[in-house]
Amino acid sequence: MSEVVFANEMDEEMTLNMGPHHPSTHGVLRFIIKSDGEIIRKAIPDVGYLHRSIEKIGERCTYQGYMPYTDRVDYVAAMFANECWASACEKLMGIEVPKRAQYLRVISCELNRISSHMVALGAMAMDIGAITPFPWALREREYVNDLVEELCGARLTYNYHRIGGVSFDIPTGWSDKALHFLDNFEPAMREFDRLITLNEIFVKRLGNVAVISAEEAKDWGLVGPNLRASGVRWDLRREDHYSVYDDFDFDIPIGTGEAGAVGDCWDRFNVRVKECRESAKIVRQALAKINDYPEDDILGKLPKKIKPDGEAYARIESARGDMGCYVVGRGAAEPYRVRFRTGSFTAMGIIEAKSPGLFLADLVALIASFDVVAPEIDR
């Protein structure tokens, strides 16, 4: 898996190959590391192993037919790419989404945010060497998967959202099951905190590691939890007022530097833990309000012929931050150009700049703390 090459016998610099099948790279990702002993001089990411030319495929599908492909942009949090594509098309064609459908979108997305963060947290703890939190986190994810499966029939690539709404209304009794899950989830998260988040070994391991300042985070285009961990209180759900997020009361957790400096790896972990609680809060509020709107009013009015002309850029707050979809139509049934802007892609860009001086083991922590998902980088 790894081989060591000494470039020059007098110099201690060696070139180390990490990946593409290294277990800590969250998919297939490769790093070429130039290091002096254990200290990295430079880590160069090599991506593209999961490139499936999603943008090119978009030019050959109809607008509605492209929806299942968007699941594959980020398969850990497929709901968000669905929503992003749907809202880009709605913006392009001026389609109104019924309120009930927007509530369903919020519920499905927030549940997905919980399940995605569960993978992120569990996997990060495992990369650091703590095995137990991973199955604990996956257990919660399984409950969410069961709920989503009942909602839309799929457990991974949901294909739930539609242009103009969603595909299914909530089944009878589903709300109670979701509430039951949330009742159990909140204590489970407290338990999770005791298990790992506030664990002294874990805090000391991650505090002050790979600190990213707010300025750096903005310059390098870090988004979502990674940006907030650096102390920037900025969330598209709050700032962009998209969908119905204005109806809900929730906090935006930011990095506080409790374990060391603001923007270290522990902050990025902790922000995700807190975000799960906020998502649970939003789901509760949405479930309480959803029945104010008529049942089965879940799909807006679409134009008879979907052949839009023009361009639109839609942004949503996905589990990995600001996800953007830019769509250009030229009066044909297929889009002329589709572009996805994803959080993992820009997070990978900063690694080369951030790596000099890190320990090799801390690079693993850095990658894990960004919660990169390889298909989202390569698309």
């Binding site: 991506v47 913006k91 903005k218 285009g221 361009e311 572009r339 820009t346």
Partner: protein, 180 residues
Amino acid sequence: MNADDIFKQLQAELGENVVFDFHEVGKNKDPWFQVDPFSIEQVAVKLKTDAALHFDYLECITGIDFPDDKQIHVVYHVYSYAKKHRVVIKALLDREDPVVPTLSNVWPTANWQERECFDLLGVLFDGHPDLRRLLLPDDWEGHPLRKDYEEASDYHGIPTIRANPIELFSIKLPEKKAQA
């Protein structure tokens, strides 16, 4: 500030040859304007450093190929965390020789996005520190998001076209012998 005011301010300070062609595109959509490709770094520095503009986040760089107009458009979506306004600027390049100065000195995040744009559309970013292919292998031929791209029949002996698997399941009936 809305996009119209930003456009007017840029035009007043940088000249009508640098920033021009404002497009209002209707409700809920983002207006855009053109920037002279060779002055784009100047515009970007202005956008980032001007206290009233303060654009600190380059969201997205997209390349679009228009073979009918013999052009490639490079679209920049820029946002300001501090002022909460956004702007869309486009640089229209010659399709045969698409060159535009890099913005990676202004916003470091442009580094990877420009590499991706080079990889998939063949736009050359002048002055880029590390303009290599990003997603595709280094020895890949062509730029797939160009509209006239044709996939090679194989890559290192791996065929890119496969037989339709459904055909494997279809039952082949024995041909009837022509009746004598």
